[in-house]
Symmetry: C2
Subunit: 252 residues, 2 copies
């Protein structure tokens, strides 16, 4: 019998992996509006000609920051490839991870108010972003109405997802938080066309802890407990979900 655990993970079913697998060898530097719609999975009303409108790409290596707290607003970004973390660094040294943007996520909407980004966004893997300049959004009297509507829509989606993440801190038990976190990760991988049963977490235990407001040790212990109960199996960053049902029953 084949032991799935020991098989090397191929780039075919993982959106990130080693920097080598992620070559970013595509030399194109521009994305069309159509690609934006595909990325965002926006199936709303399309109108008229969208040809000609091109958006610049921006590539990031692991650890590079996409946006910095305090930086003046220069537009929105849509993640084309890779995973990032959105974090707030408090003056007292405390850290809070708000979200882990992945393919199709919208970045930077917090920068419109006060014309300044309010959080740090750092690449957890090599990334490819698409920039929507502020001018495109705010240009008066242009025919870009469906770009605007799409931005509204995507922004609304980000709010919704953030609310879900916010609610995630509700659960009393840390195991339940971690279980729900794994569920959302599984769902997001599924949405991107990858396996919901087996994936590699792009973030550290510490990041997860800062996201769920618990310590590293607690996250690790929660993982161990879930393994003990046969619900998941863990090999460092690689997670296999053995029973989605059991995972779902941890919701409180």
């Amino acid at each position: 019998m084949l032991n799935l655990q020991t098989l090397p993970l191929s780039a075919q079913w993982q959106p990130h992996c080693s920097p080598h697998a992620l070559k970013l060898s595509n030399d194109e530097r521009w994305s069309s509006l159509q690609e934006l719609q595909d990325l965002l999975q926006y199936h709303g009303p399309l109108q008229g000609r969208s040809d000609g409108e091109l958006f610049q790409r921006r590539r990031l290596k692991v650890g590079q920051s996409a946006l910095t707290m305090g930086q003046t607003f220069d537009g929105l970004y849509v993640v084309r490839l890779g995973t990032l973390k959105t974090m707030i660094n408090h003056a007292d040294g405390g850290v809070h991870v708000l979200a882990f943007p992945m393919k199709g996520s919208l970045l930077g909407f917090d920068g419109i108010y006060k014309n300044t980004y309010t959080s740090d966004v750092v690449a957890l893997t090599d990334c490819d972003l698409i920039r929507i300049p502020a001018a495109e959004l705010f240009a008066p009297g242009r025919g870009n109405n469906h770009l605007e509507q799409m931005a509204y829509w995507a922004c609304s989606r980000e709010i919704t997802q953030e609310q879900e993440a916010y609610s995630l801190t509700r659960s009393v038990k840390s195991e339940a938080r971690v279980a729900r976190f794994l569920q959302t990760m599984s769902q997001r991988f599924a949405d991107m066309g990858f396996s919901p049963n087996r994936f590699i977490l792009p973030m550290t235990r510490r990041d997860i802890g800062h996201h769920l407001s618990v310590t590293v040790e607690t996250v690790s212990r929660a993982f161990s407990a879930l393994v003990q109960q046969g619900i998941i199996s863990v090999d460092f960053r690689e997670i296999s979900i053995l029973s989605h049902d059991a995972l779902r029953n941890f919701e409180r």
Copy 2:
């Protein structure tokens, strides 16, 4: 010496209070774009004629719900008067209070994605809302560009504030969470032109608990502890802040 504690609170320095004080006697049922801008405190670029555009108002009594989870999107709302709570009711009976919208807050942006509101919004006091119909936002080719930009801006602000609230759950100690919550309430009252030193909380301890992810008892105990240290004084819903500095020093 005058004992401030025993003085009755007058409606002059409180935005809510008894239903009697809040007469809502203004018979006008429409608000101008100018009033919207004032409410939102939007000082961005105004352009051209904004005359003629009127927005319908909607009044709520205590306990009535402004939006319901699952209800189809019918527009955005701006709070003109009163306080509400935005909450998510989980299937398992758990509750999470996302925010306490007050004068100038934007409601309903979460409804654009999926064309359905994703949270319940309930009036904690009598309220007066202004409705921005979906048609106004999405009408193609209209000259309402600065309405759109204002909506962007307000939405961005809501995201920012939600992030702050989210971060509020970061603190390890419950006393610190409550202290920070009181600070933000104080700030919001100040922004509305009321005293930052003395105000009446429009929400119950339970709501605060659901907002900060702690139990009622913990909130109550935190209040008592802050009173014990001479930082605030409490008379049921009435809060007096005796030392803003001391309150600030609880930030972790």
